[in-house]
Every structure is written in structure tokens, then in C-alpha cells.
Symmetry: C3
Subunit: 165 residues, 3 copies
């Protein structure tokens, strides 16, 4: 397996951890002093939304700052068409991202209605943008050093603050 | 081309065969006694939806159990962010999946209305989940031994049963 | 980095150039006499929508034939599950594609309303289909020789003509 694929798979584990609100896996894909910084475009200007530093804090943020899945809810965090560079022990990952919100219909007590067919629920793409990530290799493992997320859409924060990593 | 990419391309052929309801191509990506098993989450529980064993049966299922495309309809079966392992002649493919339903508008006899622009129809993501696939290499070709699909959304089966591979 | 990945990254640069309406980058991913030809399915028939020849013309088409992003608008051009071949200096890239239209809500003068949370806007998949691309390597760089786009959905062209590369 070449380094580019190892970097892709580190990012795939990051994305699965975001889907699963899995703090331990999320912390494990960052170096100890790793940094996440999040921006969004609002009226054409790139605005900072927040940042989290430290693998453990980033892991906790997944369980805390991200809103929990609603009942019958799920999410998919995906990246597409990455451009990857590797220079010695340093790598970069530059990709498009799309986040989907998945919400199941509640099955009626009497069962699905006549005519219902296939998957019962809605799949809605809710967030897009670009990621720029720097990684470092140690002992054959690539971990994230700095992860910059740029949302295309402006972001509203109700109290308590919620943030999609 | 390395084995990881060969596995990705075997899966890409599987996905194209599902899009095209192509029984011959679908059968060809499985070993003779290959197994597909399909589950869906319903109220937090993973429920078995069904299974099909044997490459020929799996091919026939694509033409039979899957509902045919409606007039002006199409689908895209996609996977994202795979994690792939290769150990000798055995490989695993673990990915997110999203299925899109595509339905064209019918062109009016008088042509598209004034102001119509771009693609005329709707693209709707309808199914998501995770795939866990085991493959085996023989003669340079990777084929699917066992393909497990876990839908995020519950599934309703009207008679006759329809199943999206 | 192997040739298959280099081809993927040439296509990733093409997609980013389409997102950004970036004529210079777009021209740079094509050979001088490169050809783009675009088709769409309409009532089951594959109809030619148009073609553009020459790297400079293709670059200009991105800035001209494609409609500009609306205020607070963006797009993502993505490909999925490519099948890639390399034979000497020639490569082929065969993939599914999905284009997303992203439109931000306008932030009210008084700020986002109570209860607003997360990304404020809509993400809509609007175009799907298959791409069949031939590339040629020169000096370690893969460039597009012929790029064939087949939209699943029929296409309406208002005056002035607009075309999504």
C-alpha cells in the first residue's frame, strides 16, 4: 500500500469517526497536538467558526460540540476527488467534502402503508466545502497535524454551540 | 496497478452493473458460490432483509428483485472513502454507500418552457449505509466472496419483493 | 505515485476548475487540441449537446458557456468509482459524475433566527451521468485528449446557451 492510499485511509477513519460520534477513534487519527480549524463563507467572506487543538480535545469535541444524532437519525461524512502530496514524512490531503443527514421514517404500529417500497426515510446533503489537511507519518501511521475545513455555507450557532467536524 | 486499486475497480464494476440492471456483469464480479446479505437498521436494530447465494442467482436478482427503472428513470450506486485490506489472496473492502434516484422531466410537446435551463429532472439520494465486502483473487482477478450491505434506513417490501443490491 | 493516481488527480483538477469557473486551470488540464463533447439522454435517446475543441476554447467556455454562480451560490463537480486503464502513454478514465448546486441563505440583518443551527442554505444534486475520458502523458503530466460527458437528464438551453462542462 503506498503512502497516498495510507493518507486516504487515515481520512476515511476520520470520516467514520465523525459519522459515529466516536471520540476515541477521532482522537486516534490526530497527532497529540493536532489542530482543527473551521471556517465558513458568509456573503463572500471567509469567517472563522472555531478551532480545537489537541487530539483528546478533538475527540471530546466530536462527542460534545457536534449535536448528537436525533432518534432514527444518522450522518455520512464524505470526501471526493482528493489531491494528495507526499514529501518525506509530511503529506497533504486536499478534497471536496459533502455531509449527508439521514432520517428514517418511524414505522407505523400497523406497519408500512400499502404501496410503501424501498428505503423509508430521507437523505439530505446539508454541508459542502473543501478540506485542506496536513499529515505526518510516524511508525508507518499517518496522523493529522492540521485540518482546515472551509464550509461553502454560512453557519448559525444556537446555544449550546454545535459544530460539525 | 496494485491490488487495492484492482479491488476498487471490481467494486466499481459491481456498482455499474447495479445501475444498469446488468445480470451478466453482476454475476461476473462474484465467485461461483458468492453471497450477498442485506440488512437495514430499523428503530436502532439491525434487521436481516434477505440474502442471495450464487453468482448466477445474484445476477438474476439484479434483473428481478430490483425494481426496473421507471420511464425516464436511472440510478447511481456509489461508494465513498473505502478502507481496503489485502492479505495474500484475500481482500476486504469497507465503504460508505449512497444510492441516487434520477428521474427526467418529460419534455413537453411544445418544448421546454421559457426560462428552463440546464438539466431537466430530479436527482434524489434515497439510500445510504455501509458495505463490508470480502474478495478473493484468482488469476489476477478479484471477485466478491461475501458482500454485506447495511442500510441506514428501514426498508419496506411491497409484494412483489424488491431489493436494491 | 502511480499513473492511475496521476490520472485521478488530473481529473480532480478539472473538477475544481469547473467549480471555480477557472479558465486558466481548465485549459491547463487539456492538450492543446483537446476535445470536450457533451451528450444527454432524452426520452431514451442520446442527443449531442455540443462540443468544444482546443484547450484555450475549453478554458474560455468555463468562464462563458457555464452560467456564473449566483450570489451566495457555489457548485461541486464530483466523480465516483472510476475505472482507469493505462497503456503506455495513453490512459482512460471512466466514472460516474454528480454535480451539486449550493445556495446559501441570506443572513437576515437581525442575524439568523432563533433555532437556526448548522449550515444555512441548500445543497441540491442537479446533474448525474458518466464520463469517458482519454488522457495522454507527456513529461510526467497527464492531460485530457478527449472528454466525453453523458448526462442522464435531458438538457434545456435558454438563450444564451449555457453548458455545464
Amino acid at each position: 500500500m503506498d503512502d497516498e492510499r495510507r493518507i486516504e485511509e487515515a481520512m476515511a477513519r476520520y470520516l467514520r469517526a465523525a459519522d459515529h460520534r466516536d471520540a476515541t477513534t477521532m482522537a486516534g487519527v490526530f497527532v497529540d497536538d493536532g489542530l482543527v480549524e473551521i471556517f465558513s463563507y458568509s456573503e463572500g467572506e471567509l469567517e472563522p467558526l472555531g478551532q480545537v487543538q489537541g487530539a483528546d480535545s478533538i475527540g471530546r469535541a466530536v462527542a460534545g460540540l457536534m449535536s448528537p444524532h436525533p432518534p432514527r437519525g444518522w450522518s455520512h461524512h464524505t470526501t471526493l476527488n482528493p489531491i494528495i502530496t507526499v514529501t518525506g514524512e509530511t503529506g497533504t490531503f486536499d478534497a471536496q467534502f459533502i455531509v449527508y443527514n439521514v432520517v428514517a421514517h418511524q414505522r407505523p404500529a400497523a406497519g408500512w402503508p400499502a404501496g410503501a417500497s424501498g428505503a423509508q426515510g430521507t437523505v439530505t446533503p446539508i454541508e459542502t466545502g473543501y478540506m485542506h489537511t496536513t499529515l505526518r507519518q510516524a511508525g508507518g501511521h499517518w496522523k493529522i497535524v492540521k485540518h482546515t475545513i472551509k464550509h461553502d455555507l454560512p453557519y448559525a450557532f444556537p446555544p449550546p454551540a454545535e459544530l460539525d467536524l
